[in-house]
Subunit: 435 residues, 2 copies
Amino acid sequence: MTTASICTIGDEILIGQIVDTNSSKISQALNRIGVKVRYMLSIGDDREEIITKLDKCLQQTDIVIVTGGLGPTKDDITKEALASLSGATGYKESPEQLAIVKRILGARHIELLDINMAQAQVPDSCEVIPNQLGTAPCMKFAFDEGRYGHSAVLYSLPGVPYEAEGLLEDILKDIKKHFTLERIIHKNIITFGVPESVLSKQIEAWEDALPEWLHLAYLPNATIGIRLRLSCYGADDESRVARMDEEIEKLKEILGTTVYGTGDDTLQSILPRLLKCPPEAAYQETISVAESCTGGHLSELITSTPGCSRYYNGSVTSYSNDVKINVLGVNPEIISNFGAVSRECAEAMARGVANLMDSDYSIATTGIAGPDGGSAEKPVGTCWIAASHRDRSTGEIEVVSKKVLSMSASRDVNIKRFAANALDLLRRFTEQQLF
Amino acid sequence: MTTASICTIGDEILIGQIVDTNSSKISQALNRIGVKVRYMLSIGDDREEIITKLDKCLQQTDIVIVTGGLGPTKDDITKEALASLSGATGYKESPEQLAIVKRILGARHIELLDINMAQAQVPDSCEVIPNQLGTAPCMKFAFDEGRYGHSAVLYSLPGVPYEAEGLLEDILKDIKKHFTLERIIHKNIITFGVPESVLSKQIEAWEDALPEWLHLAYLPNATIGIRLRLSCYGADDESRVARMDEEIEKLKEILGTTVYGTGDDTLQSILPRLLKCPPEAAYQETISVAESCTGGHLSELITSTPGCSRYYNGSVTSYSNDVKINVLGVNPEIISNFGAVSRECAEAMARGVANLMDSDYSIATTGIAGPDGGSAEKPVGTCWIAASHRDRSTGEIEVVSKKVLSMSASRDVNIKRFAANALDLLRRFTEQQLF
């Protein structure tokens, strides 16, 4: 199998100032065309380190993708290190990139300096893939079998994320010219509500019977749930693809209603499906939210989906009891008798916001996110969640509710878990799974 | 200088499904105590690769921090690889971690399975640092000079970000026991409202005059603004510490009202200071929020500060115009005459929520986060923000407003910028800077 390594260069990564997002984007692209990424590496702006580590990468993998260290300033030394590594005898000008440099600076009315012109100078040992979005070009260095015992190719890209991303398609095309690639297919099954250890027990027999070319991975996430990723290697063989689909069907059957989606689905992105509001429908079902402890996070999750204004009316964050009573219409006796963190209050909040915003569905949360507060009876991590549905023919509102216990001391983690559980309660409610 | 390498383990990173944020957090922490991170590495769930690469890391750096691959399921093989690398003769039980496993599962009413119990089993060659937030403990492996030519320590942490982060303080303490570290002091000055390039021009002369042991770094962040971090190396010398404080005072003077905080301050964490609501005060000033395009994010930011219930009443996310009109009391003519994205609407929303929730201050946002929508006159990235203050003696509400233009096509980035600008507007309003 054709393998790759990805190397990011820059002190800003090593001191933790910047999170490297390029490697993830590049690796997604390589995986799509069947190149296996063996490792990723981040190193500093140090000439010797760059040469030594890239030499190692070329020994160990067929393809090396480098990002960063191509800026016009003195601290950027990747180009010079690559010239040395590849045994360049000098520099040459890329007329195509020079034209781009002039165009970009001209459009921004920036004076063309020597350091800008130098961006179009490249080692004579490389081939240029022009970068339309920035001044530093992509440089490609090809090494024959004599050097590393296998033919190897190194691509050097600028570190600016959108410039690196903009070059990826050209690089993928180029890779396909150099290597015969095996096909890989990845598919996700997304679950919520069952812990990883229990899930793995449920699917143990199924997992043990998988062929060795079909690989399962667990990806837990507080907001999304647990994604189960199946990877099919050697997917040029159509029988494998068919078998993969069969195994996915079996998996779905075993897990039942724990499964809520596939691909990149999230509990918030599936709302249009749950609510019956296709773009062309005459009547669009709507939803509203009443939050206390989740403080706006639930609303933020829902509005992270572009186009949500079609079905989302809005929310009330009722952080104080006065707002619960005066805006959401929660009966003050509920709060004095049962407390703000109670089934009764969560249900009243769900009803209250559905009435206030005249929505078909609603979700409510009230709990203790911590780190302080709580009691023996209602410890930090306790949350009551509720969901409501209005029957438009009778006008009646049906409400369901549930207690969530998150054992984390982290305010942030608790808020994420409460909000995700509230979305899952709505899902199960609309699918009539619980009641 | 004591050096470290950071190694993340997991196929999900290599196929680009997950962005590694642990390495950045760990590297920030190591840099804070004076450990230089030489490189970061991400590798897959492959036993041989784990052993070979970690062996290399231990050869090249004094400290190796490993995250990931410690889950209870079969695809997680880090523990077994570490047992082999460190020459363990078998496994032992960590009674402390076992108690935590039982507590966590018990509290969540999850059945205790063999694979959960196994989380407390560790190679007999390691020392356990208990993980209070999850089931997999931190394992510490110490190697004497005989093995690598220098004393080396490897710490293996779970990959779940908040669990890894929760263990960092204990690990830093432990590192200080093993290595003699040079003292470094880092101090932050936090600014909002001036772009990085303008800021750097303003402080150019000051920066050029800094001694070489005093180092400045720019840390831009959409939500926080630009943090300027000064690092004083060799801080055992008291005269250096005094000089550092002097330079910080000079910097504050140059930047004036652009500076809003120090340390870990954020625009939302300084609210208690702005609002005059010390815990012991008889009257607590309060704030409420009306959001449209920010969708709950502004409210979430405010509630991310523990104890905010003292001054935060709550918010309305008025995603639909009906909610703006019926809940916030925005005059429908404002929307038909000026549109929902207008100065008039933002101001009416700010007034509306202040009245609805009877708060002293309020903030409002209404804009176009994108990626779709917008017009030539109001492109994606346009947002009107407003802030209000009620004079309790006269009952009158004063409102200020401002247009924000974010040049990003990313919905997420725009939402963050709008919310941060709204908080900054409130800051300048309460400090009477603008008006």
